[in-house]
Symmetry: C2
Subunit: 136 residues, 2 copies
């Protein structure tokens, strides 16, 4: 059986926050928006509907738990959730906190401009808050 291995581009663009039942939950290295990824740790999957029904349910509950936590931590106006995969085919679900007037509001975040890195202390404190809220 093929082992799961994280796509190189996803690994480079994000850092792991926590492992849930199915997913590696990762923070994108882009401070323009609070932006998380859930990567189901299953090999060879590109589309959500290629997961087993049980994994589809796990992904839904984990995505929604992460979305609710991100809204709590950030006070976002709206959570955006998306699975595109036009560039990186390994299945990954984006969960992004959006605010009125943020970069490219009310348009989508994907493909817009260039990533802006976090200061180390900002990234570390944000990850700590996310871990605390996700563990509740």
């Amino acid at each position: 059986m093929q082992d799961f291995a994280l796509d190189d581009r996803l690994a480079n663009d994000s850092v792991s926050v926590t492992i849930t039942g199915l997913c590696d939950v990762r923070l994108m290295k882009d401070c323009r928006w609070p932006w998380l990824l859930l990567v189901p740790r299953r090999p060879g999957i590109s589309e959500i509907f290629d997961l087993t029904p049980l994994d589809q349910v796990l992904l839904t509950f984990e995505t929604n738990k992460v979305g609710a936590a991100l809204k709590t931590v950030t006070g976002a106006t709206k959570i955006n959730i998306g699975a595109l995969g036009n560039i990186v085919r390994q299945l990954h679900v984006h969960v992004i906190a959006r605010f009125e007037g943020d970069t490219n509001w009310p348009g989508p975040i994907w493909g817009h401009g260039r990533a802006e890195p976090y200061a180390d202390e900002d990234m570390n404190s944000f990850i700590a808050k996310l871990r605390e809220t996700l563990s509740q």
Copy 2:
């Protein structure tokens, strides 16, 4: 108890294809991409995680059934799924068939240019194919 009523903008921009257990499945009036919406028929919901756990599971299975059907009917390279809601707050899930080289590929479809209407016969035959595949 509040009744469900479809948002005016969603009603204007799309036509109903079928009703599933939870959702109104609708075709966007934009022939640039084969583009469906699932609108859970629950009042007052903006975020997926505000649905009950059972409705979250229904939405997942219905979204994935629609996504798989859309891939079958169109032969798409990749299915894009997204719940943004920055403009229309009533919860709605986009399911879009994408092809290499289509309009704005590999970027997202939301907020890009202006809708291009279908010819009536093209829309009707596409809806008929979708209904047939979804009923299997």
